[in-house]
């Protein structure tokens, strides 16, 4: 069996496509998270594969679906951006052989194929469709939504998992070599910290609009506060530490003007959702959360780091595409969970869609107002990556839970949670979803 990446035809990456043809016909009905940890401890029952099986089975149970009825699996095979098995280090055969294997020995440890999942979930007897939505959950979600809408599957698991290994992130694998072909050599081998490109864009943003780094403090504090209310999150589980404005302003620079707390912490985690048709969703355990539309950004920067102008133009286009696909205006959006890892992305995404009418250059002023979950303008109620660690999926879980009113302590109280938007990661390359309490909003 070979699983392919989703074709570009499954993404809505142009403006002018109109309302999504499957608007309100696909719903999220189940959520499952695996255990979250900082790094893998080398045991079989905490491996990437193990925590992903837990997440998938929890999503199935949460939805109240018979596993035999599941006919689709959408996921991402890559499970890291910076933690690679050290060359020459002996493979962990005891862990590998604790599960049904594929041709790739580290499948289930530092990568995760659909084949591995299906070999280790014998209960998925009805699966007939697998596809990869590469990069992150944002991608897998739009692919799964499109697949169900197009009739490629009717009941589909959506999975994203991340592994993390001992040692320093971004300093192993190809980055440990003496040479890398192409532009990654400039970026990874001889380059600056990962956040530097965003820091350059943010610096230009501050110059253009007369803002400063300290103005990010309320956003960071709010994000961590919300994240500490996310029971599955890293910080909530392992180090329940707030970031006060004082903490934020005192942190050391990583790539000025991006400091330590402008970076998210790499973790091991896994999340799964169960999507199905609106028709089937009506008969399941949880309140369905309908997908009104999805949109994708495929921006082409002219240079090594996208300029502020390119970022702003692309984010505005993504916002227009998402609203167009969903058939709503931004005034209909109850709350936003746009990506924050790096947090200096967030204002670009938020201004792009014009959340609460915020125009380019106004987000940092908006952060100085009440952006809490109890106010009228909740910003990132999930807390995102800053609130719970690098997963790129807290924002999606939160959208579903807010609308189902299952967000617990994070539940927004200042607005009716009717429509939420989530997505990312990059301002010039990502995938976005509009979620709704009703199929025909």
């Amino acid at each position: 069996m070979s699983t392919e990446n989703a074709p570009q035809s499954m993404y809505r990456s142009r403006e002018g496509l109109g309302v999504w043809e499957h608007r309100g016909k696909v719903a999220a009905v189940g959520i499952g998270h695996g255990p979250t940890s900082r790094r893998w401890d080398g045991e079989a029952d905490t491996s990437l594969g193990a925590i992903s099986l837990i997440a998938l089975r929890r999503a199935i149970e949460d939805a109240g679906v018979n596993p035999e009825d599941i006919d689709g699996l959408v996921m991402d095979e890559r499970t890291t951006t910076g933690a690679f098995w050290p060359r020459g280090q002996e493979l962990p055969w005891d862990v590998i052989n604790a599960y049904n294997t594929t041709d790739a020995p580290l499948d289930g440890i530092t990568q995760l194929s659909a084949e591995w999942i299906l070999k280790n979930m014998p209960e998925l007897t009805g699966n007939k469709f697998t596809i990869y939505g590469p990069g992150c959950m944002s991608n897998a979600i739009v692919v799964a939504a499109q697949a169900i809408g197009d009739g490629l599957a009717h009941t589909c698991l959506v999975l994203k998992a991340w592994h993390n290994l001992p040692g320093r992130y971004y300093q192993s694998g190809p980055n440990a070599d003496d040479a890398i072909p192409g532009t990654p050599a400039l970026r990874s081998l001889w380059g600056a910290p990962a956040c530097y490109g965003t820091a350059i864009q943010f610096a230009e943003y501050c110059r253009k609009y007369g803002k400063n780094h300290d103005m990010m403090a309320p956003f960071i504090s709010n994000s961590r506060r919300n994240g500490l209310k996310f029971p599955e999150g890293y910080w909530a589980q392992h180090r329940p530490e707030e970031i006060t404005p004082e903490d934020y302003k005192a942190a050391r620079w990583i790539a000025k003007p991006a400091n330590l707390f402008d970076n998210d912490i790499p973790i091991m985690c896994s999340a799964a959702y169960l999507f199905t048709t609106a028709e089937r969703a009506r008969h399941l355990k949880q309140k369905p959360v309908y997908i009104l539309g999805h949109a994708s950004s495929r921006g082409q920067g002219r240079s090594f780091v996208p300029t502020l102008d390119e970022v702003e133009a692309e984010c505005a286009s993504s916002g227009r595409k998402l609203l167009e696909a969903a058939g709503i205006t931004v005034d209909d959006v109850s709350f936003e969970n746009l990506y924050d890892g790096f947090p200096q992305f967030h204002q670009f995404h938020m201004e792009g869609i014009r959340y609460r009418g915020v125009q380019p250059g106004e987000a940092l002023d908006f952060y100085q107002t009440d952006i809490s979950i109890s106010g009228p303008n909740p910003v990132s109620p999930s807390g995102g990556n800053i609130g719970s660690g690098r997963s790129r999926f807290w924002m999606h879980t939160d959208c579903i839970q807010q609308i189902q009113r299952r967000a617990g302590e994070r539940q927004v109280t200042g607005v009716e949670p009717v429509i939420g938007v989530s997505g990312g990661p990059m301002p010039t390359g990502g995938n976005f979803t509009c979620w709704s309490a009703t199929p025909d909003y």
Binding site: R239, T244, E246, D247, R252, L260, F261
Partner: protein
């Protein structure tokens, strides 16, 4: 007077990952009358909360890059920073004019005899 700055993660038992230095060790050196505190990448509020949790009154809690400020603020004959990272502890400590010790070197040292 001796001043000792402790890194947390990878250095103290409370760290993530835990280090070899116990809170009793910190109490012991403080009992010698030394100035003690933490210099870590953890939020300053979290550093303060950690010390309070253990009932240890410290003289300073600062972010990782602020050892020079500590030196400016406190008069001491010798300044030590104890940490577990070459790049984030040893080099900045030495640049700030601190003596640097790895955690295991700190436990082996006869602190009761002074410097």
């Amino acid at each position: 007077m001796i001043l000792i700055s402790f890194d947390i993660d990878g250095t103290l038992e409370e760290g993530d990952p835990p280090g070899v230095l116990t809170m009793d060790f910190v109490r012991e050196v403080k009992g010698h009358g030394f100035l003690v505190g933490s210099c870590s990448d953890r939020p300053i509020s979290a550093q303060r909360a950690m010390w309070e949790r253990h009932g240890i009154e410290v003289d300073f809690t600062v972010s990782k890059h602020m050892l020079e400020d500590v030196k400016a603020d406190f008069e001491a004959e010798v300044y030590y920073h104890i940490g577990d990272r070459e790049d984030l502890d040893k080099r900045p400590a030495e640049k700030a004019g601190f003596e640097f010790l790895w955690p295991h070197e700190a436990t082996d040292r006869p602190w009761s005899e002074g410097t």
